[in-house]
Amino acid sequence: MLKRIATCIAAFAVSAMVGTASAESPTKLHIAAVLSAGKEAPWEKSLIDSFNRIIAAKPHGLEISVDYTENVYDNAEEVFRTYADTGDYDIVFGDTAYADAIDKVRGDFPDTMFVMTGSGNRGLGGNAYWIFIHNHEPTYAMGVLAGKMTKSNTIGVISTFPAEDTNDQINAFIAGAKEANPATKAKITFIQSWFDPQKSNEATTAQVAAGADQIFQMSGAFEVCQQKKVGCYGNYIDVSSAAPDAIVASVVAKWDPHLNWLIDQWWQVKTSGDKFNTPTEPVWFGWKDGAGEIVVNKALQDKIPADAKAAMDKAAEEIRSGAKKVPLDLSEPKAD
């Protein structure tokens, strides 16, 4: 009898403990997102779209909310510290090279997860998580399309600054175009500014004059593409509506696998009582994990030759299945 009572008490105690544990599992996740540019910048827009999908998906049953601060650059440390100081935020997510700011703040808030993204950072470990968007795989397949589409055998790329997270895309786009059409020559222009639509348009004009007829416009100005009816390609978001008669396709960045990984890490720490301990290497996900996609402009898709579309689809299929490996080339690209 005593044994049975003891068993009952033990069972009750265990169930009570389990009950306590589940009561302590987080039900809410509050994220502060520190953006380097405005919300409409393609890089930031792709992140916000991904956050919105994650909020709707409720991983681990979490009610997720995200607050944004835009145009943070010089005073980043203060912004991170202010968010962490409130104690209301579980993750402070910085969407660019914020390693210096995070390094100064992270030690004071060991229970907060800090995130930095892309090039220009250094691995800090501990509670400073580093994720990277590498969209070279879908960009390679988009390059295959451009290589098939060019009539002048000349493609162009216009970008902001050479950096690891732009070089990877430029190299992949050119490699894809050359695979589809070995006669392809590539032109590359860096406008050396994050935001300068006029200069960006002038760079497009200059490349068109030099013979480029398929242009990967990574600096976000499509007016000349539209006026001159040159095939243009965009990145990070679907840019079709910016120049409906000119945009052929866009590679959309999807942060979903990155965000899910971060939330899983956070959840594991919060439910196990462990400390944050991230590797110092950046974490990134490939096309097969859903980290990007190609969106062909619907208004133009009937004008894309069937063999060009088929070549792109074939490359896409091979890359996603793992049959084809696209090298991650971070070196500064060179024009032909």
Partner: protein, 312 residues
């Protein structure tokens, strides 16, 4: 490789781009020289251009009319410089400090207003950009036609303003009075003419021109306003005024020279000539510093530039 640059199509492309790139800085520099000839050094051109770019874009979007957008940009530039004028002409606050503050105001206000105006929208909308206006017959002339006569209306206006401003400053009574204020305001004051009224007029005209210069970057160039998109052009306009020796004709030459270097570096990258493009990007600024050093020796700056006029 270099021979690729000498292709006629490429030369035309570089020269036409030079004219387009010069347009916004030319407006701002012509406005600034008028203010500086009246002894007022408006360093707030960058922020004024930014407000012109933003308000011009916003008004074009709201009204659907580029003309209303341009009028709004003029007005925005005038209001920005009115704030500046009150502070430096009436309140005699330091011109440099006030100019810098005006830049911060333009940057902060335009970004804030952008967010406030479109906070409920998923995506900031775009406007229809002004088309080019080829001049009949003239635009058909080989080389000269596509370079000079296949441009936007604002470009023609900016270039027409060069002789207009010159005539005004050097051949009109009010122009003479304005230049007199820059050299010896007391002389005008003694004759019973208001120094402050003329300075206000010159500064507000300068601001309106900077507003128009900013509007070139949105209404005549791109569908969207992007925060801080003026990107140093206001500062370049200030350098151009100095490099041009405070004379409209030389200011045009300086604006064309700097724009040519910019157009050339874009084309050299576009053609794919393998020289470090960073040197090309630095060229306009190196040229600006050299121009300042050369002008330092024979400065034609108005004697009372930057000095508040006080009656004894």
């Amino acid at each position: 490789m270099w021979s690729d640059l000498l292709n006629l199509g490429i030369i035309v492309s570089v020269l036409a781009a030079t004219i387009r790139i010069a347009t916004p800085v030319l407006f701002s520099a012509l406005g600034e020289v008028t203010a500086e000839r009246a002894g007022v050094y408006n360093m707030g051109i960058e922020g004024t251009m930014l407000m012109g770019a933003f308000i011009g874009w916003l008004a074009t979007y709201e009204s659907g009319s580029s003309l209303i957008g341009l009028a709004a940009a003029l007005l925005a530039g005038a209001v920005m410089s009115l704030i500046f004028a009150v502070m430096v002409i009436s309140l005699k606050i330091d011109q440099i400090v006030t100019g810098l503050a005006l830049n911060l105001l333009g940057s902060g206000l335009s970004t804030y207003w952008l967010r406030a105006a479109f906070s409920n929208m998923e995506k900031v909308p775009g406007i229809t950009v002004l088309r080019t206006w080829p001049v009949p017959f003239l635009s058909d002339i080989p080389v000269v036609g596509p370079v000079l006569f296949n441009q936007g209306a604002l470009t023609y206006l900016a270039f027409l303003l060069v002789p207009v401003i010159w005539l005004f400053l050097f051949r009109s009574r009010l122009g003479l009075e304005i230049r007199c204020i820059g050299e010896n305001p007391k002389a005008l004051d003694i004759k019973g003419h208001s120094v402050a009224a003329r300075q206000y007029a010159a500064v507000i005209f300068g601001g309106a021109m900077a507003g128009l210069g900013g509007a070139c970057l949105t209404i005549a160039s791109t569908a969207h306003f992007v925060p801080d998109m003026v990107n140093g052009r206001g500062w370049l306009a200030l350098v151009i005024v100095i490099a041009g020796g405070w004379r409209p004709g030389w200011i045009l030459a300086a604006a064309l020279f700097f724009s040519f270097l910019d157009a050339l570096q874009l084309q050299i990258q576009g053609v794919g000539i393998a020289i470090p493009y960073q040197i090309l990007l630095a060229l306009p600024y190196i040229a600006a510093i050299v121009a300042l050093m050369i002008r330092r020796r024979a400065s034609r700056a108005p004697a009372m530039l930057g000095v508040s006029y006080r009656r004894e």
